[in-house]
């Protein structure tokens, strides 16, 4: 039997970078000009935002193996931070303001992730779910009551609409790339080892608390960025948009796509964001269709549509190069 041919990690890296650049260029060209209706433009932006939310939640659920139910809370923190920053810095050059706003939104959300993560991650399973659910609600109630800063229930209006196609595309690409890169380093492996077996990870010298909090903070960071994009997309923020149902929506995307699969999250986020628009005639039954879809997937494919499979162009090329000899069961490495 022939030797199984492999692509070296650095070549795989180059292939991925080229893929990302193609994605951004094609995406920008396709959506540029006036070729798209306003509705479909809005939909594409929304999909981008939900893709970031789903892949960020996937860090905590799919990779770390926990079940937080307060993801919309982190999104809200990011959204309000960015919106307030952008409103305060209207005289700054726009690109600078956008970038700073996104970073600030991510960082503040990450700080919240750490604050909630340290106590919450001492708990497991349903306990962690409940405590994060509580956290999400606290954020929402706090936003309503801090009406001096956040505008309260009537909402925070006149947020500059900074979420252009380019900004959203770049954020989606950067988020996916950053998560992919981290997950394939010692830090990512440590997070995965905690999901696989906590006791074994502990006795391999993995600092459990540190890596759990790190995963949680990363998850919150990218949710914060998605929140900022949401603020720049909507132009106005209302606490109602960040309620429990919003957290559940994101969780549904992750579970449906397959926990631990980034491509799964992307596909599920796309489909579930586009679905309501496609089913506009049946808007009243949206939640019913949602639920039925979930039940069907859980019965026939409990691990989600893609399970843990992750798309890898270098992996496919490798398979094609080796099409003549059949290897044993392989696990994607990059």
């Amino acid at each position: 039997m022939n030797e199984y041919k492999r692509i070296s990690p650095s070549k795989r890296f180059l292939i991925n970078i080229v893929l990302v650049i193609i994605f951004i260029v094609v995406g920008t060209l396709l959506t540029g000009g006036d070729s798209l209706s306003r509705a479909s433009r809005a939909l594409i932006l929304q999909i981008g935002i939900y893709v970031i939310l789903a892949v960020s939640l996937n860090i905590a659920t799919g990779y770390l193996g926990q079940l937080p139910l307060g993801h919309a809370g982190f999104m809200a923190v990011g959204a309000y931070s960015a919106a307030l920053f952008w409103k305060a810095t209207l005289n700054m050059p726009t690109p600078v303001s956008i970038v700073l706003g996104l970073i600030i939104a991510g960082l503040i959300a990450a700080v919240f992730g750490i604050i909630i993560g340290i106590p919450a991650l001492r708990l497991k399973g349903d306990y962690l779910a409940i405590i994060t659910l509580g956290f999400g609600e606290i954020i929402r109630i706090a936003i309503i009551n801090l009406s001096g800063i956040t505008g309260g229930t009537p909402g925070l209006l006149n947020v500059p609409k900074y979420s252009s196609f380019l900004v959203v595309f770049l954020c989606v690409a950067a988020t996916i790339a950053a998560i992919h890169f981290i997950m394939h380093s010692r830090h990512g492996r440590a997070i995965l080892s905690i999901r696989e077996n906590e006791i074994a990870a502990d006795s391999c010298g993995v600092n459990l608390t540190y890596y759990k909090v790190l995963a949680f903070a990363m998850s919150a960071f990218f949710a914060g960025i998605a929140g900022a994009l949401y603020a720049g997309f909507q132009g106005s923020l209302f606490p109602k948009s960040f309620d429990f149902m919003a957290s559940i929506n994101i969780l549904v995307m992750v579970v449906l796509g397959g926990m631990g699969s980034m491509l799964g999250s992307v596909i599920a986020a796309t489909v579930l964001t586009a679905l309501p628009l496609v089913l506009q005639a049946l808007a009243a039954y949206r939640m019913v269709i949602y639920s039925i879809l979930l039940i069907i997937v859980m019965i026939f494919k409990p691990s989600g549509l893609l399970g843990r499979y992750d798309f890898s162009l270098p992996g496919l090329i490798e398979k094609w190069m080796n099409r003549k000899n059949k290897p044993g069961k392989e696990v994607a490495n990059e």
């Binding site: 890169f181 993995v206 044993g328």
Partner: protein
């Protein structure tokens, strides 16, 4: 009935070759779960390159001793000196960094990750690459990953497992999973390796191969090995010192020849002969 094993033990490393300065010392080590004394007055010394065995009937507290040494359970009494330093207050992962690695009685691999990844996680603390250099793929990342991968494959080659590197760990046959656990433990660069029933579920030829490998590991890495095992051929064959535990207390300590003929040990295993 005076002997536990029927086979004469194969040749051992003579006493003079065993470095006697202890890597591990425990004094009055013990733990109580509520009113139950699980381990009590556990005093041992293990040499730097010694292979020691911990035996005893089921429920004697052998695995509990491993859990105490690695602070999975916090001892309620006594001290543990690793390389002369007290490990009190250290967490499990910190004790691993200080030099104790272990395997588990019921295999605990990272089942859905690749064999290579399992070993790379063992190498976790010897890979130096910050979060930023991983995220931005700076040269530090490429360099550390390359070194780590080479080292992982090298470690896998001890058990001739380098060709399985990309297989899913959970899909390996049972014996290979046990070997992988040992490789993963070795990857953490220990000075004391704790093996919890390494031969469980292995056939006689696999067991004798394992014996050879445990010796090989000790000689190659110059480390101490403490193993729990029920297979007396293995224990008597490779251990230079044996500790016998019953109801949480040490009932005998010494070289295999002594243990084999020790009446207390025989009684613990086989029960007392009825008088008359």
């Amino acid at each position: 009935m005076s002997e536990l094993v029927s086979m004469p033990s194969p040749g051992r490393i003579p006493d003079r070759d065993i470095d006697k300065s202890p890597i591990l010392e425990t004094h009055h080590l013990g733990i109580k779960f509520g009113g139950l004394v699980a381990v009590d007055e556990f005093n041992v010394m293990i040499g730097r390159t010694e292979i020691a065995g911990l035996i005893g009937p089921n429920g004697a507290g052998k695995t509990t001793v491993f859990n105490l040494l690695t602070n999975v359970y916090t001892p309620t009494s006594g001290t543990i000196l690793l390389d002369g330093k007290d490990t009190k207050g250290l967490k499990t992962y910190q004790i691993n960094k200080r030099g104790i690695a272990r395997t588990f009685q019921n295999i605990r691999l990272f089942g859905q990750l690749s064999v290579l990844d399992n070993v790379l996680i063992g190498l976790h603390n010897s890979i130096h690459c910050s979060l930023t250099s991983a995220m931005l793929r700076l040269p530090a990342y490429w360099k550390s990953e390359k070194v780590a991968r080479e080292r992982a494959l090298e470690l896998l080659s001890i058990f001739d497992m380098q060709d399985l590197a990309n297989n899913e760990a959970g899909s390996l046959p049972y014996g290979a999973q046990r070997r992988l656990e040992i490789v993963r433990a070795l990857a953490t660069n220990p000075s004391l390796l704790l093996l919890d029933e390494p031969a469980a579920g292995m056939n006689p030829s696999e067991t004798s191969e394992l014996m050879e490998n445990i010796r090989k590991i000790r000689d190659m890495f110059q480390i101490a090995v403490l193993l729990i095992e029920h297979d007396m051929n293995l224990v008597m064959g490779i251990c230079e010192g044996i500790i016998v535990l019953n109801y949480g207390r040490i009932i005998a300590k010494g070289p295999p020849e002594e243990i084999k003929t020790n009446p207390t040990v025989i009684e613990a295993y086989l029960g007392r002969k009825k008088e008359g």
